[in-house]
Every structure is written in structure tokens, then in C-alpha cells.
């Protein structure tokens, strides 16, 4: 039996619908096995393709491990999960949905802080005054570390936050955040402001190919067919 081409698609919500529509729109509709709650599927027009419906962050992990050949997920999750993403995967095509930015945001009342380079001063003074480091709440620990290191910000500490990150400064669990936002409305509602140069990553849903998966000539053919369909 020929090797199966495994495609990872988001298993939930709007991302799942839009990913499915993306394949519809290029003439390769997705068939879900069993009822709506099933976790496998196929693309009849592409033959030997098996679809695995998993969470968008799991897709990033599986792309890194090579457990799936291709997948649709957010660039933010790929860059957070895979430290040297550009060497492990290929971003085949930006899909035009799921647009959101990963940003650095501070309480709007920090009128003394406009850009990222103002942060280190504040962080140093904060450390002297409060005897601890400035806390940054985020689920993007790796992206945050890389970005702050590039900008010479060092006197901070990450507090891992897996939900409602924008509420942490008001709740006193952190002083500022790095989070994803599409319109900025939630940040604003929580009294936060994005620093002028605080957009770390403009993310959207991508069709991504793993370099670590097992690639045979027949699997390469399927990959090329998909790439061609998407006009990438």
C-alpha cells in the first residue's frame, strides 16, 4: 500500500470552517468521516489523502515532528512552537483568514512608555522599587523572549497565561502582556495600549508543509498537486 499523505486541519470553530472552505474554493472539497464530531476525513479528488482534525496548536507540533505532511494553522502558533520554524517547515501560502497580530501591550496609563526601547528603563526602575522583575503575561513565551532579546529588554519575567491574558494587568497578576489581537478592541476594553513598535508578528492562517515528515515520490506528487491548486 502506498504511503498516506496526512493533512492536519483545525478541529474547532471558525478556523475549521474556513480551512474547509479554503479547500472547497480550490476544487478539492473535504469529506469528514462519520458525523460532525469525527476526527478524520479525506479529500476524494486527491486520492490518497487522510485528514486529521486536531487543534491548531497541535498542528504546529505535528508539523515540527513530521507526524503530518501539511497543515493549516496560524503563523503565530508555528513560530511559537518551532524555534527555528524557517528550517523545519515551509510556509506554502497565506490563506487570507484568521488575521491577528501578536503585540506588546501596556496599561494605557503608562504614558511614559511609547515604544519598546522605553521598557527597559521602566523595568529597571520597577525592579529597584518593587524588588522583583516586571511580569509579562503571555502564552507566547518563545516569541516574547526572542523579541525582547532582540530589543535589549532583559529585566522582565514571563508569567505563563493560557487564557484571558488581557485581564492580568488589572487583576494584578502581571504588569503588561504579549498577546494576539485582531481588532484591538479587547485590549482597549481592558485599558491596554499597543506600543508604537510593539507589533511582533502579523499572523494569519497559512498552508504549511513539514520538512520533517517522511516524503516519498508519490507523497511529493500530492504535495505539488495541492500547492498547484492553491496557486502557490
Amino acid at each position: 500500500m502506498a504511503d498516506k499523505f496526512i493533512l492536519g486541519l483545525p478541529s474547532k470553530g471558525r478556523m475549521m470552517e474556513l480551512a474547509s472552505e479554503a479547500f472547497d474554493s480550490v476544487g478539492a472539497p473535504v469529506d469528514k468521516d462519520g458525523d460532525e464530531r469525527g476526527y478524520t476525513g479525506s479529500i476524494p479528488s486527491l486520492g490518497n489523502v487522510e485528514i486529521s482534525f486536531v487543534s491548531a496548536s497541535e498542528i504546529a507540533t505535528q508539523l515540527q515532528r513530521g507526524a503530518i505532511h501539511m497543515g493549516i494553522t496560524g503563523e503565530d502558533l508555528v513560530r511559537e512552537t518551532i524555534p527555528d520554524a524557517d528550517n523545519q517547515v515551509d510556509f506554502v501560502k497565506k490563506l487570507g483568514f484568521g488575521a491577528a497580530n501578536v503585540v506588546v501591550a501596556v496599561p494605557a496609563c503608562w504614558i511614559d512608555v511609547e515604544e519598546v526601547s522605553d521598557l527597559e528603563d521602566v523595568a529597571e526602575t520597577f525592579r529597584r522599587k518593587h524588588g522583583r522583575r516586571l511580569r509579562v503575561a503571555t502564552k507566547y513565551m518563545n516569541i516574547t523572549r526572542r523579541f525582547f532579546a532582540e530589543h535589549g529588554v532583559t529585566s522582565y519575567r514571563i508569567v505563563e497565561s493560557l487564557g484571558a491574558t488581557e485581564g492580568t494587568p488589572a487583576a494584578g497578576a502581571a504588569e503588561m502582556i504579549v498577546d494576539i489581537t485582531s481588532t484591538g478592541a479587547t485590549l482597549k476594553a481592558n485599558g491596554l495600549r499597543i506600543l508604537t513598535d510593539g507589533v511582533i508578528l502579523k499572523s494569519e492562517a497559512n498552508l504549511v508543509a513539514s520538512r520533517n515528515a517522511k516524503w516519498t515520490p508519490s507523497l511529493n506528487e500530492i504535495r505539488n498537486e495541492i500547492i498547484e491548486k492553491f496557486g502557490a
Binding site: 496599561p107 496609563c109 504614558i111 511614559d112 511609547e114 535589549g152 494584578g172 485599558g191
Partner: protein
């Protein structure tokens, strides 16, 4: 029977470690063996997020946040502090043991996730230059004892940079900023560009209008100005930082404006200093020329530098392949003065073999009641073993 390669490597590392330990023991130091599992808090607060990103942190069933030690310097500091709470003792420790670091590109023989460090830490040594010379001489002696032939010594000195900062007229805040950016060339250039730009040329934001209304000599009035501004803009105060903290930070920025931009000549001097790279003996004259051309006086710091070089020669440090580089630093934040690294100088040999330096602020950061002079070195024993094997393989070929 063919020996298992992992057992063989273990045996080689053990044999090498015992040779190294002998050198330290004969020098009369005290052996320590800190715990492998350390409280995460201390490390994370002292070394910062950059190392935290590479540290194996975990929570035990009691909920305590712990880590596998990413180095042995901080555990040695904790041990010293425990034994000498008043921190007035002079101690010279040596150790050999595993350290653990996540390797972003995947673990390799040169960069394993578990590797043994052998090293020394001197605490409370008053004669700085002499202690520094001793550490470097001893490191070279160790490498020679275990059979490493050619090495290259690279060094830098944060003390000289601090002296340069002190000599140039500017607000104290800028000195702190520039010293902080010193290790990162891009950040330093960016900062210098910002400081030399006149405020009138900067993009006017809402902040620049507010800053014009703040008089640094009248803090109470400044706080009222800020409070009124926030009210007018409908911004509410929340979070840990208070109105006073934010006002103070604005007062600092307003004082910078009153001071005016950093003169371009000062920025040029700093850039010129950072570019200095030469054999250690030649550096003193090079920097001295750089300063006298611009009528700056660094003679005090330079005499310390000169004394260190004299001490190096007295201690028998091999300087034939030594280079001083002003921007040379180690990417650990806690170093405060002299820093050095030793490698084989061959391309692709997999990173430095020994590295260390002065960290006079570290003990206080760990909890000491006052600053304690500290200097140490750690030898990456896996890389050392690899380098010796590579060297012997080349020797056998010839």
C-alpha cells in the same frame, strides 16, 4: 569485548575530571558539590528570561517551582551565602558536576543538554587584578594538564566601559542605558542614534507635548499635571505602577530634554571604543590615544587594566595568542568587569572551552547584605574532551 561507547565516554570524562580536580585541590581550594535541583526562583530572577528559556523548569508534587541547574555559579553563591550570611569570608571553591540546558537546534556532542562543568569561584578577594590573573593562569594550567595544546585567550573589560561612561558628561540615566546596551552592538548603536537626535527632530507624539509642561524641579506640580492629563484623556490608573512612579519616569525624560541631545563626538568616541580590538599589551596605548585626542582622562581605569596585564605576566599567563576586544562579552547579565573565554581558535571547533569573569553584583542579587567581589571560571568538559580528541587525531595523521 567491545566497550559500550557511552561507557567509554563516561570513563574518559571521569578521568579528565579527576585530573582537573587535582589541579584545583593542589592550589588549596575547597571542594563543593551544590545540589543539582535548585529553586527556580533564584535562577530566574538572577539570570533573566534568556537563560530561563534554556532551563529545565518543573513543578514538584508539592507545587514548588524547581529547576535543573543551568550553571554552577549561582548554586555556589547560594552555598557561600548559607555558610557565611554576613558575607565577610574569603572563600575559594572548586567543583565538577552536571549542568543542564535546552539546546534550541537540538542537542549535539558540542552542545549536549546535559554537560559537566568543572570550575572555580573566588568570593571576597580584595585584590581584583591578582585574583583575575590567578583564575586565568590556573585555567590555562588545567587545559595544559589534561593535554590541550593550542588555545586562544579572548578578553574584555566592562570596567573600562564604565569608566568611559563616567568620563563623558551625560545624565546618569543615559549611562545606565548605554551600559545595559553595551553587550548588544545593534542596541547600542540604536540607543546612540536616539540620544544624539535633538528632541525637536523626533516625531512629536502626545508625550512630547506633556513633557514640555513638566518642570523637573517641581515634582508635586508635575504629578498634578500628569493627573490632569490622564483625566482629560479619560485614561484610568490601574495596575502595579503608581501615578508617582509614572510621574517620576516622566520627570527623568523631561530632565533629559533640558540636558539636550548627546553631542555626536561623544557618540563617536563610544563607537570608536567599542571597535577596539588588539593584543592586550597594545590596548592600553590604543585607548589612551583615543581618549587624549578628545581630552578625556581614563588613566585610573587604564592603570587597573595595565596592572592586570602585569599580573597576568607575573602569574605566567600565556599571552602569545591573546586578544582584547572592547565589545567582547558573555551573554550572561551578571558579569560586571573583566571577562574572558578560551577556545582552540580553530574554525568550527564547537564553541569556547572555558569562560568566566568578574561578577561583583551577583551575590547581592542572590541575597547578600552587601556587594561581594566574585570571580570564577567554568570549563565545558565535553567540549574540552572533544577538542583533545580532535587535536590528537590530527597529530596521528601527521
Amino acid at each position: 569485548m567491545i566497550a559500550d561507547p557511552t561507557a567509554e565516554r563516561f570513563r574518559d570524562l571521569e578521568a579528565q575530571a579527576s585530573l582537573i580536580m587535582d589541579v584545583f585541590a593542589k592550589a588549596g581550594f575547597e571542594r563543593i558539590a551544590p545540589e543539582i535541583i535548585q529553586p527556580a526562583d533564584v535562577f530566574l530572577d538572577v539570570v533573566g528570561e534568556a537563560i530561563r528559556g534554556r532551563t529545565y523548569v518543573f513543578t514538584d508534587p508539592d507545587g514548588a517551582e524547581l529547576c535543573l541547574r543551568p550553571d554552577l555559579t549561582v548554586p555556589a553563591c547560594r552555598l557561600y551565602l548559607e555558610r557565611h550570611p554576613s558575607c565577610d569570608a574569603r572563600c575559594r571553591y572548586y567543583y565538577s558536576g552536571s549542568t543542564f540546558r535546552f539546546q534550541p537546534g537540538g542537542a549535539t556532542t558540542e552542545n549536549p543538554r546535559e554537560y559537566r562543568q568543572a570550575g572555580i569561584e573566588f568570593f571576597g578577594d580584595g585584590d581584583q587584578e591578582r585574583a583575575e590573573a590567578e583564575v586565568v593562569a590556573l585555567t590555562q594550567a588545567v587545559l595544559a594538564t589534561v593535554g590541550l595544546g593550542h588555545t586562544r585567550l579572548r578578553m574584555g573589560d566592562l570596567g573600562l566601559f564604565k569608566a568611559l561612561m563616567a568620563a563623558i558628561d551625560m545624565p546618569e540615566r543615559w549611562r545606565t542605558q548605554l551600559t545595559h546596551d553595551f553587550w548588544r552592538r545593534d542596541a547600542l548603536s540604536q540607543r546612540l542614534r536616539k540620544l544624539t537626535t535633538p528632541f525637536s527632530d523626533r516625531e512629536p507624539g502626545p508625550l512630547s507635548v506633556l513633557l514640555e509642561q513638566i518642570d523637573p524641579s517641581r515634582p508635586v506640580a508635575a504629578r498634578e499635571t500628569v493627573r490632569a492629563y490622564l483625566e482629560r484623556e479619560n485614561i484610568s490608573m490601574f495596575g502595579t505602577r503608581t501615578l508617582e512612579e509614572i510621574t517620576n519616569s516622566l520627570i527623568d525624560q523631561a530632565s533629559d530634554q533640558h540636558y539636550g541631545p548627546l553631542p555626536p563626538e561623544s557618540a563617536e568616541l563610544i563607537e570608536a571604543y567599542v571597535s577596539v580590538e588588539a593584543p592586550p599589551r597594545a590596548v592600553g596605548a590604543r585607548i589612551s590615544d583615543l581618549m587624549s585626542e578628545r581630552n578625556f582622562d581614563l588613566s585610573d581605569a587604564l592603570s587597573h587594566y595595565q596592572r592586570r596585564i602585569d599580573m597576568f605576566e607575573e602569574a605566567g599567563v600565556d599571552m602569545s595568542r591573546a586578544v582584547f576586544s572592547a565589545e567582547f562579552g558573555r551573554n550572561l547579565e551578571y558579569y560586571s568587569g573583566f571577562v574572558f573565554q578560551i577556545d582552540t581558535g580553530t574554525e568550527g571547533s564547537g564553541g569556547y572551552i572555558a569562560g568566566g569573569g568578574r561578577y561583583d553584583g551577583l551575590l547581592q542579587a542572590v541575597g547578600a547584605p552587601h556587594a561581594v567581589p566574585g570571580i570564577g571560571v567554568a570549563i565545558h568538559t565535553e567540549r574540552l574532551l572533544n577538542a583533545i580528541k580532535a587535536q590528537n587525531a590530527i597529530g596521528a595523521e601527521n
